[in-house]
Symmetry: D3
Subunit: 285 residues, 6 copies
């Protein structure tokens, strides 16, 4: 469903324009546009597949005549060496769109695959893994989609669809209690109110003020544990701040409800995918 | 000079719109727009600074009244804990633009810092480190700018400003010789012609056909060495394909002229930067 | 703060382009651009002022040199005949931007003024007045801003920042309970879950399933009252559906928490404002 | 033909983006995209139908596979309870596009319906009913199309395609005679020249200066009558200024040629239309 | 006033983006952005100056700090060798914006200069020289502005702001009379109605049907003369079709009111202007 | 292949919007959209055909149902009076898109035809004819495509894809040698380095500094000849500056490799093409 979001049109155009500019000089000089070919999309390492519909939409923007045979679905775990999809169409079009389409897909698979590793690590403890707003500029909605495909959940998409009262906000209005009260008065009733807290006292104040969730920012594990003991089940407890694949298990063990991890989107390695293009002639031999 | 490229306007707007949407609900509910504050931008790890002019341009799009005191220049190596820049202006504006501006800056510093590590590694052997087209969609020009700041060089920006004849092109027209001839006839005289080759025979054919550069794709070190011995100084020799910080030294030792590294832009970890916001009141105490 | 939302740029440009097109033929034929003048913005009926910052931004897009003396603030109740603001600048610019700027302002004042009448009507009963998504295409964020200025609250801005499970959704998944469960599993934890219900049984099921809010759609007053008696304080209760200035008091008396009114934005009469332009010469006499 | 105007693309995208943003959270959480359904578009009150092609274009931008059975044409008077059109396609797509498509259609039907009431009122007197430039920002061309469908005529679309010399213009150049002369010298010969006048003397001067039309702004009925007696048939006479359904008949009786009514577009109530979605399952039972 | 038309923003951006793309490689490699310089804009042949405000706006989009000393005004006749304007600012910015700004200016001066030659040729006979819609795509408003500056007048800007009934329209509805009647019924009263006719009979029919103007398309001079004798002063008579600087005098002598000339915009030679850049150092010596 | 360049979308939309604006008043008033017709595209003078795919794309943006029978291919020389293509479809659509589509096509054919005359003139001497950056704003890529179709070659597309060191650059850094060295150090290895020189000494210095090409700017024929004698075959030699159809032969005789001609794109006369529309009825008789 990601491919039908209206505003994605803009990032797809930007990406195609920055790669194609005034045209593909090499391909236009060497290959006639009516020569057709096949191309096999395959993986060189185990991944969680994310972004295939977008990969196709990028190529379709170039050439609506290309045909696809898909062997896997979004969210499938695909092992190294497997073919994901076969493309048939104008060799020239495939060569022109290849890199841009792959750049989207490799990033999204990279994020989904990394997310799935976090999710599996914490599974026994029931915590949900969340993304943050630390995404590549312009790619927020794709990055967050990939997190969902990898089994993670989304935190708010931007500043507009979630209330998160941070220390700066609290400092500006004077107290957690006052901040929650102001937010509740002015915000849509469809949104929960979350407050960033630094210790048990802050957590308690937030709860009493009527917060729906608290974010424990860079809190020590012991502190976290205390907050969970005191407030679990009465509001949503989120852990955040520099959490890695190494440390996430201990965080989950404290019993927090959700764990947000910036690295999912700001530092995922892109997945190793390749498009092997097979000119018709070579194909038939 | 990066900040004056006209088309960057589009990615900056996209990034601001995806984060701000209909507005920052939390800040609008809690903080009056005329309350001013300071904010200190500092690093938590050693980095090569890249993207500060863009960081400022993003914030300026939000609020042209914010003032900046800068303590470092683009390309400076900044050690952990240092303050890069001090911002003064509307607290509300700073809070609204913070994450988007940081998302740009952290990515660019990450790329520049990683690039500089490659560059230093190969420095004794005189090889230049190049980027590829494996960039985040929409961020091509920023990613490549960061590579330059980190001491690397740019490969072609897209399909439009460089001729790179790949195996698919060669297969489609029959031979390297024929491909180079066609490209030379149709391409602008301002562009060099580079050919991807797989072995010494291909390298020789490309040279004889008049290619200006060859790209040795995933070639074994020994093979690479032979090509260098045979052709060094007669055309530009580029090594490419899965090169890492671990392997780049050995590649450089073969004597190739340039080494292109996809990881610079597709898998750099973002740099650890932070914006510490100091409300006026706290400030004056 | 409305005027700094980045995406408003698009609707302002659209509005200016559709009115100005290739230029103001009449003014360009008759009035030299360096002739300056004053213009007085005043109201012909009592209004709640909303949109003045946007009115100025529209004119500033035309001509950044125009100066403003403002006599009222956003949200002020202004009585008939009062002057809101005085403009000084190029007569030509003022004449060219006048209609477009007024079209924004009159619509926004109209919505704020109508909203304030609803809000005052229900004030003794503590219910909040909410808008809906029935806004003029492209003007969603301005329409909803005007509702806030008029004392109302915003419902969700779009399909992306609030969960509202309607009868069609329930029919598709089989039951309210199942629908709430699915939504909770997949939606960001920052969002509340609201369910549209038709009777007390549905309201009870929604509550037991863990819904945070229910929407009573076109429910009879008696029914509404029963739901309130049963669930008040345990979740948020919203009344909706064809509510008018005549009927809103009775709805509020049932004790519902919030009342959403489509007419606020889809059928508000525009406010009667005028810009009286005074050429310099006439002015000095 | 309205749906093929190239610039409408922008307002349609704006409207879809503001409602859909990062996606329809509720529908995406609950309904698989391959589940199909029917939806019946029907009216709850008598209307003049306007905007159906645009309603379809909005939905097609979401999903080009939806099919339509139409039972009425643009401009038809449709009585309360009638079904206008039946939609078949992806239930998810229909739910996502429903509100945006309806927001366009309901506004346009509202304007067409109100226009038709004015047109019928004055029919015996041969006056044409015109719109003004008091339209919702960004919706000028749709608002004016709806007026035509309702039987009204269009005044100029913007400042670029009609010459209307107002009192401010006259004040700036000194006299009506001078203003008409300047306009005639500089304006395209394809445009008529209209002058706003306040009394019979002004009307006479405009006529003698060669104006093609005069606009009687907020003139008393008696005055209007005198102008008509003096100038009818020698130039086009337009009445304007606060004309309502109550007063329009008396204005028409004076014998003016055209009557422009701002309320047609700035204050029309939206028409009461609904889309009843029928999930396949419910449908087949 | 041309420079303030809102939609010009789009063509200026397009032009800057197509020339600058990812940046000016040469200048960025060689010249630091803080080095300032002067540049003298001068003409190598006699021209009518048109487009200087746009020339400045293009450069300002690059760099708002450049300063200008202007020695001539729009519409001035400037003789060969004269300096039009002196620029002072960043040498790098001037070099980057130079070609794009000149491409606009040279085209506009070319059109204005050619127009003025037509205008002077026919001056003794009182005919006005008009442009057509045969303009460079995207440059319609600039081309037509240049015609005005050159002393010509504008025909309609597009299909939206003038009624011109052509032979195809007449063929489709059956007769000139019927065509004029339909147009009058449906078109805004602010527009004149012009009909393309081929002979005197057609001209007479158009006049009797109430046309406000006729266009004599590719008519022989003698025929033209007859139409003028018969209808001069009763409607506007326009001559059109392949008129050149050589033939325009004879056409004017027939007594037609306006003469439209496609060549003004579709085939004007660009004016010979140059920007001589003087680096600061060279300057001071 | 020109028609698939992603960024062309913007100039096509701009052109259609500026001509169609709020709609074609004349055609909408007179011709129902379901009336079909034929239209014959033919030439009135001998041309080289360029731009037919774009002509079709413009019309397709209006109406995707129009069908085409093409009788010539891009690059064909078509003699006066020949029919290029037959269109079948909605008469209304064809009339609306006709002028915009022709404006593109006539410009492109004009450029291709003029280019072919230069190319043929110099053919015996083996020099290539090149365009410059003196193109119409927004039409760079179309202008340069037409040059290729006419048998010419492209110089760099913009400032981003070619290095051309001009006298201003040299003045700023001190010497040709220093300039070449700086450019080589900073520019992508995929680009050649070209230097503008004024005399033989400059040419020699450029060669020794390692330049790949030199541009002889406005050099006298004798001087040019000397440079060729000295450097032919050692780097690419380009002649430029005010070269006309009259002077180009002598320039070619000097033996330069490439000759760039600004007039190809800045002053080509548009080709004389026409679209003769045949309403169905007339057609069937």
């Amino acid at each position: 469903m990601i491919e039908s979001i209206p505003s994605l049109r803009r990032i797809i155009r930007l990406a195609l324009e920055e790669d194609l500019g005034s045209g593909d000089i090499t391909t236009d000089a060497l290959i006639d546009p009516w020569i057709s070919g096949n191309a096999s999309l395959f993986v060189r390492e185990e991944i969680v597949l994310a972004g295939l519909p977008l990969f196709k939409r990028v190529l379709q923007t170039m050439d609506s005549q290309i045909e696809y045979e898909e062997y896997f679905n979004e969210g499938d775990r695909v092992s190294a060496g497997k073919e994901i999809c076969l493309l048939k169409g104008s060799l020239s079009s495939i060569l022109k769109g290849e890199r841009t389409a792959l750049n989207f897909l490799q990033r999204m698979c990279g994020i989904a695959t990394l997310t799935s590793r976090y999710v599996e690590t914490v599974k026994p403890f029931g915590a949900r893994i969340l993304d943050t707003r630390k995404t590549a500029p312009g790619l927020r909605w794709l990055d967050k989609y990939a997190v969902r495909i990898g089994g993670g959940s989304n935190h708010r998409f931007g500043l507009f669809d979630g209330i998160l009262i941070k220390d700066n906000h609290i400092a500006a209005v004077g107290s957690i209690t006052r901040a929650v009260e102001l937010a509740r008065r002015k915000a849509p009733h469809t949104l929960r109110i979350e407050v960033e807290v630094e210790d048990l006292a802050g957590a308690d104040e937030a709860f009493k003020a009527g917060a729906d969730a608290i974010l424990l920012d860079n809190m020590a594990l012991q502190q976290m544990h205390k907050v969970v003991q005191s407030l679990k089940g009465r509001l949503i407890i989120e852990a955040s701040g520099g959490i890695t694949l190494e440390s996430v298990l201990d965080v989950a063990k404290t019993g927090v409800d959700v764990i947000s991890v910036g690295a999912l989107t700001h530092s995922a390695r892109t997945a190793d995918l390749s498009l092997e293009v097979i000119p018709e002639a070579a194909n038939s031999s």
